[in-house]
C-alpha cells in the first residue's frame, strides 16, 4: 500500500487560501487520492477524490501533477470552522472497498 506523508500542522487566517500537500511516491496505477476532514469528537468526512489533473467541488480543489507522486488539497477562503485534521489517503476504491490507511493527518488551525 502506498504510504502518504503530510505536514503535521498548519496555521492560517480567516479568508486565506490554504494548500495542504501530500506526498505519495509509491502510488499505484489504479490508486485514487482521497481527502477526508475530521473535527474533534466526530468521524472523518469525505472532502474530495481524484485520479489526475484537477478536481473541484463546492468545498475544495484537488491538484494532482502528471507523475501523481503528490497531491495538493486547496481550501479557498478558510473560516474558523475549517479548523480540523485533514487526511490524505491513496487506494483503489473501485472494487467496493480497500484497506484504508490513514496517516496522522495535517492539523489545520484557522485564526481570526
Amino acid at each position: 500500500l502506498a504510504k502518504t506523508t503530510q505536514p503535521i500542522s498548519m496555521d492560517s487566517y480567516e479568508g486565506q487560501e490554504v494548500n495542504i500537500t501530500c506526498s505519495h511516491n509509491n502510488i499505484a496505477t489504479n490508486d485514487y487520492i482521497t481527502w477526508y476532514q475530521q473535527f474533534p469528537s466526530q468521524g472523518p468526512r469525505f472532502i474530495i477524490q481524484g485520479y489526475k489533473t484537477k478536481v473541484t467541488n463546492e468545498v475544495a480543489s484537488l491538484f494532482i501533477p502528471a507523475d501523481r507522486k503528490s497531491s495538493t488539497l486547496s481550501l479557498p477562503r478558510v473560516s474558523l470552522s475549517d479548523t480540523a485534521v485533514y487526511y490524505c489517503l491513496v487506494g483503489d476504491p473501485r472494487g467496493g472497498g480497500f484497506k484504508t490507511i490513514f496517516g496522522a493527518g495535517t492539523r489545520l488551525f484557522v485564526k481570526a
Binding site: Q42, Q49, T100, A104
Partner: protein, 116 residues
C-alpha cells in the same frame, strides 16, 4: 436519510471483560469498515466487510478482536479479555459497492471505549 450509527456512544469496562460494539451502516451500503483511533492519531484500519464476508481483516491487532456481519448490514466488533491499551474511539464507516471510483466512506460518530 439516516447516517451510520454506533452504539453505545461510550463504554467503560474493566480489564479482562468482554465488550461488543455495534454499527448500523447506511441502508444498502455493502462495504463496512471498522477503525480504531487513539488520541492525536489518525484512524487505524481494523477490518472491512463486503456484504457478510470479511474482505480484509489484516488490521485486527490480535485474536482478542473479532467482527461479524451475519446479514450483511449491522456489524458487531467483539473484544475479549479487554486490556487498558484497547481504550480508544472505535469508528465504523460504510460505503456503497458501486464499482465507481468515488466510493466515499460515511463514518459514524464512534464508540469511546475506556478500559479501567
Amino acid at each position: 436519510g439516516a447516517g451510520v450509527s454506533q452504539t453505545p456512544s461510550n463504554k467503560v469496562t474493566e480489564k479482562g471483560k468482554y465488550v461488543e460494539l455495534r454499527c448500523d451502516p447506511i441502508s444498502g451500503h455493502t462495504a463496512l469498515y471498522w477503525y480504531r483511533q487513539s488520541l492525536g492519531q489518525g484512524p487505524e484500519f481494523l477490518i472491512y466487510f463486503q456484504g457478510t464476508g470479511a474482505a480484509d481483516d489484516s488490521g485486527l491487532p490480535n485474536d482478542r478482536f473479532f467482527a461479524v456481519r451475519p446479514e450483511g448490514s449491522v456489524s458487531t466488533l467483539k473484544i475479549q479479555r479487554t486490556e487498558r491499551g484497547d481504550s480508544a474511539v472505535y469508528l465504523c464507516a460504510s460505503s456503497p459497492l458501486s464499482g465507481r471510483a468515488n466510493n466515499e466512506q460515511f463514518f459514524g460518530p464512534g464508540t469511546r471505549l475506556t478500559v479501567l
